[in-house]
């Protein structure tokens, strides 16, 4: 419900030697960023793939907390929504919404929150409300859901953006639904987390350190140039010293993803 859910995959198969898809690439790169993280607040779709892969690789103690109230899910099937019945049956805890949002999220117990957006700016501010003017939008988007709360309260936020275009990586958001900590500070409200620290896209990885820092390009996927990423970004994107090249998904990662995490390719479209 935080704009991060994906639609169903088309279910087509993918052999062990098949070329790496965009979803696979994003999931693998995001999973690596979860090394040693524990409590992750995530929606369904790419975050599901990333966190499940991380559990099998770099973050064995990872726990996904769902906005719907589920902690410690042990689903029998890959969940299709954050409230899927399979997340509830067999879970370790299902909390009422006031406890989930109040005590768990706002209480400061989430290490990483996953968010998506229609637009992101250089400070990691997100728009999930409207394209155009709020009171007469050209496109009405779903709105915040819990994104405002995830950004304000998770220790850090990862954003996965499939499309990397100047319109989605915007110099100015049409509407700032979910601000980064700089805007909160300017509004006189203390930011409690670092805001967006990682943005994984089809072109590479952007990162920022915390309050006062803007998103910089830290890595590109193999075959992608820094200039390509800068051209696809609506603001004057700076780089973090030398830009690394993302290590392509390894055989083990792909095997786990394809055979263990999402064998029916629900999200691995």
């Amino acid at each position: 419900m935080s704009g991060t859910e994906a639609e169903r995959g088309d279910g087509r198969g993918s052999g062990p030697g098949a070329p790496v898809t965009s979803a696979e690439l994003l999931a693998v790169v995001a999973s690596r960023e979860l090394a040693s993280r524990r409590a992750v607040f995530a929606g369904i779709g790419l975050p599901t793939l990333a966190t499940e892969l991380a559990r099998l690789t770099v973050a064995p103690d990872i726990e996904v907390v769902y906005e719907s109230g589920v902690c410690g899910a042990h689903p029998s099937h890959l969940p299709e929504t954050i409230a899927d019945a399979v997340l509830i049956t067999g879970a370790e805890a299902v909390l009422p919404m006031p406890a989930l949002f109040g005590s768990v999220l706002q209480g400061g117990r989430i290490d990483v929150g996953f968010l998506g957006a229609a637009q992101i700016d250089r400070w990691g501010g997100l728009n999930t409300s409207v394209i155009g003017r709020w009171d007469r939008p050209s496109v009405r988007l779903p709105g915040s859901g819990g994104a405002v709360e995830v950004m304000a309260n998770a220790r850090e936020v990862f954003v996965v953006m499939r499309r990397h275009t100047p319109r989605s990586f915007a110099e100015a958001l049409d509407f700032c639904t979910t601000p980064g900590p700089e805007r909160a500070l300017a509004d006189g409200v203390r930011p409690l987390g670092a805001g967006v620290t990682r943005v994984v896209t089809e072109l590479g990885v952007l990162a920022r350190d915390g309050v006062g820092d803007e998103l910089r390009l830290v890595a590109v996927h193999p075959g992608v140039t820094v200039e390509q990423v800068r051209a696809a970004t609506g603001w004057d994107l700076r780089t973090a010293g030398t830009v690394a090249t993302v290590e392509p998904p390894g055989e083990a990662e792909l095997r786990l993803l394809r055979e263990e995490v999402d064998p029916r390719r629900v999200y691995l479209r």
């Binding site: 919404m97 409300s129 009405r140």
Partner: protein, 330 residues
Amino acid sequence: MITPHTEPGSAVERTTPGRHGPDKVTSMREAVAAFVHDGDTVSLEGFTHLIPTAAGHEIIRQGRRDLTVVRMTADIVVDQMLAAGCVSRLVSSFVGNSSAGSLGELRRRIERADPEPLAFEEYSHYGMVCRYLAGAQRLPFYPLRSYGGSDLPSVNPALRKVLSPYPGPDGEAEEIYVVPPVNPDVTVIHAQRADRRGNTQIWGLTGVQAEAVFAASRAIVVVEELVDDDVVRADPNRTAVPAHAVDAVVVAPRGAHPSFAQGYYDRDNAFYRAWPEISGDPARLREWLAEWVYGTADHAEYAAKLGEEFWAGLAVGEALSGPVDYGRRL
């Protein structure tokens, strides 16, 4: 002789006759006729789970007008109520068809005022939760660590700030956003089971249903099953809503479709995926309402029309909780 001091319209007056009466079971038709009026503020809660669709459809059938609908996730049932012309104002934190695309009528109303404008109050999820908490607890406001720097306060003047009377961690003054209470005229929820007095038990995702009921002047609980008093009393911790907060109990099995009822039937994901196409075309949406809502006398007919084969596809297997021992004095 003793006249308790209460202000007109104050929440104290919510303790009205009938609340504690022994039997509140009624039909959906009677419950909606008695407790949902034109112009009311109506909360329909259920976070993906236990969405009170059957009640929404009956509100459509009875032609309610000018409602303010309060619902965290305004999804298919809200789109249907919008299309039926019941709603003039929407208070919500997520206006989308879950992960399965758009709500056609809602987008037409907001993007093009087609066929008429929709007043929309936009919150975040926790902002809505806090509005219910404030309403339930009769607080003038509820503080939350959201909205700092967001554009939402610029389009929603109800989002305001309060200065904490305590110094912040750095010794400086600290400001925090607050939301106002919401006190619906009526809240409708769907639940797995209740007794005749209205003691309501919910499991799986319990969302914000209890707070939405406590915040309201009147409450309708729609259930999959009416159960004997003994069933409820064997597990009092399972009671999310006590009888004294409930005005009507309506039995409507499968009344949460296309959402799900944990342990009863699964979510109809195909219907969610179909909705963007249905709702994207006003004529098709009218036809859908004509066939499935106006064309059915009540929810039992709607459920029967879907057919037993359909329901078999949403059937779930058994996964019983173990019991706990409450003990009895020897």
